[in-house]
Every structure is written in C-alpha cells, then in structure tokens.
C-alpha cells in the first residue's frame, strides 16, 4: 500500500506492506506533492528482526522510521530520542537513558502545571533546524506510553535527566550538549548523512539551552526544572 504523510513539514510518500503503520500514522496523512519517497520490502523487515518476537507490522514501522531518518537528515531534520512537551507554545525536551525517568518527570510536570502542559511526543520526536528556528515535531513513533500528537513548537530547552536524592539543575556547555545529543540521535549509515547529523547537532547544542537535571520523583523536581528552563 502507498500513502502520503507529512512529517516535520515534509510530505513523504511511503510504500509498505502491513496495515499496522497505516493505523499508527493515520493522523499524519497529507495530500501534497511528496518531497521524499521510500519503500519497504519484506527483506528489510526480516533484517530488522533481531529476536524473533516482534510482529512484522511493528518491525516495518521501525524500518520506515530508519529509512525516513536517512532521508530527512538531508533536509536538516533529525530524530532526537527524547520526550518533547509544550508549555505556552514552546517545546521542552527531556532526554535520559531508558528507565531513568523521563516519563515520570513529565507526569510530574502534568500533575503540577496541569493543562498548560501539552505532549508533542514521548519518545522519538523529529527536530528541524533552520537559520531562524529549531523546532520539535510530533511523530507517530511514540514509545511505550503512546504519548504523541501531530503538533510542533520551537525548542526552548533540552534537559538531561539523572536521578539523585535532591533536586538540582545546572546549565551544560555546548560541548557536553553535543556529546549527549550524539548518543540520542539516529546514526545515518552514509558518510553524508553522518556528517550532516554532526553539523545539525552542533547547531542545536550551540543555539538551544541545555540543562543537567538531577532529581527525585517529588513535585519539587518539576518545579526546579520548570523554573530553570522557563527562566522563571
């Protein structure tokens, strides 16, 4: 089956096999002229299968994201493994190794600040870089929480979460930001794609404030990160 979807403002024509992806990405259908097209084969899906447990439809959705990322990087768009939320029209990204508490921290923000907090994507948002703006975009690849919405906002801060008994937050250098972001992005397989990825991440780390948060799971943790990232 072939459909057109819009991801990070780019219309993409996708030819694939299983209905799982059509269902997953139904909020992203579009009807423009595609700038990018990609095709998934059963051989691609078989290669993706590592443990033999996952269903083909799910594996296909991973193949699609991989192929999409390989192409979008040439349009200055990259994946950043993070949870992206919005407050007052600005996006805040939280990144951490799996199991460190991204979802927990976002639940704390929602509990403390209520409906002011909107979800962009809980796991794999896309980030576009232009001379004037760095923007986070929703995608249907939304992790185990299934937090996602087809919306976008300019990125006002990125926060790396680590656990600690007390809540503290401090700014990181662009160099540290680049090192962290590099571990959380998709690694293109081509030299051109990888080179572009480094350039885009360097742009992001230079232009977006990057924070190190050490936190526990109390409401105060949300207040500390909110105050620093919002400049309040």
């Amino acid at each position: 089956m072939t459909n057109k979807y819009q991801f990070a403002g780019i219309c993409v024509e996708i030819t694939h096999i299983y209905p799982y992806f059509s269902q997953l990405a139904r909020d992203y259908l579009c009807d423009a002229d595609p700038e990018v097209s990609l095709t998934v084969t059963q051989a691609d899906i078989d290669l993706e299968r590592a443990d033999g447990e996952a269903q083909d439809g799910y594996l296909e959705s991973l193949v699609i994201y991989r192929k999409l990322c390989e192409q979008l990087v040439q349009k200055d768009i990259i994946l950043l493994h993070s949870a992206a939320i919005t407050v007052d029209g600005k996006a805040y990204l939280f990144t951490a190794p799996s199991g460190t508490g991204k979802s927990t921290h976002i639940r704390l923000w929602r509990k403390r600040f209520g409906k002011a907090v909107g979800i962009i994507n809980g796991d794999k948002p896309l980030i576009s870089v232009t001379p004037t703006e760095i923007r986070a975009w929703g995608t249907p690849w939304d992790g185990k929480e299934h937090w996602s919405a087809n919306r976008s906002a300019p990125v006002a801060g990125i926060c790396q979460i680590g656990r600690a008994a007390e809540n503290t937050i401090y700014p990181a250098s662009a160099e540290e930001a680049l090192r962290v972001l590099f571990t959380q992005t998709y690694r293109p397989q081509t030299e051109m794609g990888m080179r572009k990825t480094v350039q885009l991440l360097a742009e992001i780390s230079r232009r977006v404030p990057f924070w190190n948060l050490k936190c526990n799971m109390t409401a105060e943790a949300a207040e500390v990160s909110y105050a620093a990232m919002r400049g309040e």
């Binding site: 160099e175 680049l178 690694r187 293109p188």
Partner: protein, 88 residues
Amino acid sequence: MRLKDGVIFTKVADETIVVTVGEAAEAFRGMIKLNSTGAFIAEHMLQDTTKEELAAALRQEYEVDEATAMEAVASIVEKFESVELIRE
C-alpha cells in the same frame, strides 16, 4: 598503519569532530574532538602511513621540532588505537 574505513571528519567552528560509519562504527560509536593539529595528523592517517611520515608531514605544515612532532603524532595515534580505529 591507517584508519579503518568509515572514519569521518567534520569541521564544526574551529574544531574537528570525528565520528564513524560502516566498518569503523563496528569498533567505535562515539565522538572524538580534535584541534587543528590533531585533525591534520589524523586526516593523514586516512592513507597508509607511519609515525615518522606523519611527524615529517606535521613539521612541513607547522613550525615544530622533531621531538614535539613525534609526541603529537604518538598522542593522536594512541587516541585512535585506544578506540580500535587503526588498521595495522
């Protein structure tokens, strides 16, 4: 010796960032930051070479004595050896 295939040099501001794809990425998936001298040496390791040749090339480009050049070369070679990016 030379660098494995897939070592990529990207200039960002006044630094060079080294990352990997393909064969090199099987050995090392991180990022190495180099200053201009380090990048000069490492980029010469894309072709088959020796420490002596690297030091000589460095001395042609920068005004440094032999001991300093050899030391700079040894340090960069060691850096790439430690992450298994060098092919004998």
